[in-house]
């Protein structure tokens, strides 16, 4: 599973890092989010899916591996 944050859409609501703190990191100055790593560790997949679903801007893009 892969994840990235669309930086044009992200407005720094911070829900992703609240839900999946190991997978998303917030910029110190603007508070906008980016993925810690494009590849999601298996034990983080559920949290990352929940973060994507909870994003008010729908800015988190997940690609499930086939």
């Amino acid at each position: 599973m892969k994840v990235h944050v669309d930086s044009d859409r992200c407005q720094g609501h911070t829900l992703c890092s609240m839900i999946a703190p190991d997978s998303f990191v917030l910029d110190d100055i603007e508070g906008h989010s980016s993925a810690v790593s494009e590849d999601v560790p298996p034990d983080q997949e559920d949290a990352v899916r929940e973060a994507a679903q909870s994003c008010p801007e729908q800015a988190i893009i997940i690609t499930e591996s086939s």
Binding site: M18, I19, L26, G31, P56
Partner: protein, 454 residues
């Protein structure tokens, strides 16, 4: 206007709904009105307040709030298109001053917001946590031995106000001079006999703010006021009126919204003691989702006005340039297509992509402050007054919730406890010294460390 235009106009506005969010009935009928709008017309035309659109469905709100031809601009002096900003109808008090970044479009909005971000980002706010906890502690110490508290007057009005002044760089002991008129302006109707007194307090606050600005311009001290004074746009300082507008927005946005969220949440938890006990016990996992759920359900700032800056079709509705729009975060937050059982509070709700801080580039810049202050107050009450019971007789909700879904009073009783520190005045004196010594109001770019409270 030709016959064809009239036909097409009535066709465009075929979803009609009489919508007046400034009546007391709107508060009592909110769930029914919301269900009506979701079922019949996610976007409706209403004739109230010279006519405007109302967006209540989550998908329409999502698209409209992020639409580049939906404008926040408040053109006070008729220099651009004459748009009226975010208030519907234009509030008398707000007609002469633009509401800071919330009433600006790009690129102007971005220029000012970039100045404010380093004071309000998650990392910036986290530095204040020990300061916030100490203000909260002092508020509870004032009341803990009595066994009686008003959660609005004695806690939720105080902590957000003190922190906001600290971040601005204004002396902490002025908090009530700022808090009272800000709060009262929202619940005092235009016809109230009390309006003169409230307006006088408002003027006193405005004057003090202006004096602080002059003082800080002469003798810089850290904080948001200083940053707005120091900023340059194409080499020129920002106009004083825009600085005042932004300071007014931070004060107005920072005070009453967090108060409203805290009071409503504490009231609900008093009515649901089993949930309160669970929240306290499982706070490590439950505090974050519960905070988001309270935000969703109570939506302290229920919506914003906008103006279409071009003709556009969104979600099947055609909008014309110049038409006004009310985007209802509160109604989008109850859309059953996004939130199962939308009228229930589910503390561990999943996928809670609520609309309470708005969407798009105007996302509430104080959202990190609101969450941090709310969590400090809530957990301190759960720890020190775990059996509190709110008194429904003394509870006063705002009569109308068109601007803020707030509360005036929330008295409660609890088993008395022991003080653990100084009272509020003494604590604020100490915290002022700490603010000054540790330069707490510097932006995150200049100071990374958390406050140290001795």
């Amino acid at each position: 206007m030709s016959v064809d235009d009239i036909v097409s106009d009535s066709d465009r506005k075929k979803n009609r709904y009489h919508f007046d969010r400034h009546t007391p009935e709107y508060r009592t009928q909110f769930e029914k009105i919301t269900e009506d709008i979701h079922a019949k017309c996610p976007v409706a035309w209403t004739d109230t307040y010279e006519g405007h659109w109302v967006a209540g469905g989550s998908q329409a709100v999502f698209e409209l709030a992020r639409c580049p031809v939906v404008s926040n601009d408040h053109d006070i002096n008729g220099e651009r298109q004459g748009y009226k900003g975010i208030s519907i109808p234009t509030a008398k008090r707000a007609s002469g001053v633009r509401g800071g970044i919330l009433e600006m479009d790009e690129p102007e909005h971005r220029i000012y917001r970039t100045v404010l971000n380093p004071f309000l980002s998650p990392a910036a706010v986290k530095r204040w946590a020990p300061f916030i906890d100490d203000v909260t502690r002092a508020c509870l110490d004032e009341k803990i031995e009595e066994g009686v508290i008003d959660f609005v007057d004695d806690l939720a009005n105080v902590v957000p106000a003190v922190l906001t002044l600290a971040m601005l760089g204004i002396p902490l002991n002025k908090w009530s001079m700022y808090s009272e008129p800000t709060h009262a302006a929202l619940y005092t109707p235009e016809h109230s006999p009390d309006l003169d007194r409230v307006n006088a307090m408002h003027r006193e606050m405005g004057l003090d703010l202006l004096n602080n600005m002059i003082e800080i311009r002469e003798n810089a001290r850290p904080g948001i006021v200083n940053a707005l004074i120091q900023m340059r746009i194409d080499g020129e300082p920002a106009p004083d009126l825009e600085i005042m507008g932004n300071l007014g927005l931070i004060i107005g946005g920072g005070f009453d919204t967090t108060t409203a969220l805290t009071a409503h949440s504490l009231e609900w938890l008093s009515q649901h003691p089993d949930q309160r006990e669970r929240l306290s016990r499982e706070r490590d996992t439950l505090l974050d989702p519960a905070t988001e759920e309270f935000l969703r359900y109570f939506t302290p700032a229920p919506g914003d006005g906008r103006t279409f800056s071009d003709d556009v079709e969104i979600e099947g509705t055609q909008f014309k340039e110049g038409e006004r729009l009310w985007i209802s975060w509160a109604m989008a937050n109850r859309d059953p297509s996004v939130f199962a059982d939308p009228n229930e509070i589910v503390l561990d709700r999943k996928g809670n992509r609520h609309f309470s801080f708005g969407l798009g580039v105007h996302r509430c810049i104080g959202s990190n402050v609101a969450r941090t202050v709310f969590k400090s107050m809530l957990t301190a009450v759960l720890d020190r007054m775990p059996d509190y019971e709110c008194d429904p007789e003394g509870t006063v909700h705002y009569e109308t919730i068109g601007v803020i879904q707030g509360m005036r009073h929330l008295p409660a009783t609890f088993t008395p406890g022991r003080r653990v520190g100084a009272g509020l005045d003494e604590t604020l004196e100490k915290l002022q010294r700490i603010c000054d010594e540790q330069q707490l109001a510097l932006p995150i770019t200049e100071r990374k460390d958390a406050a140290v409270i001795d």
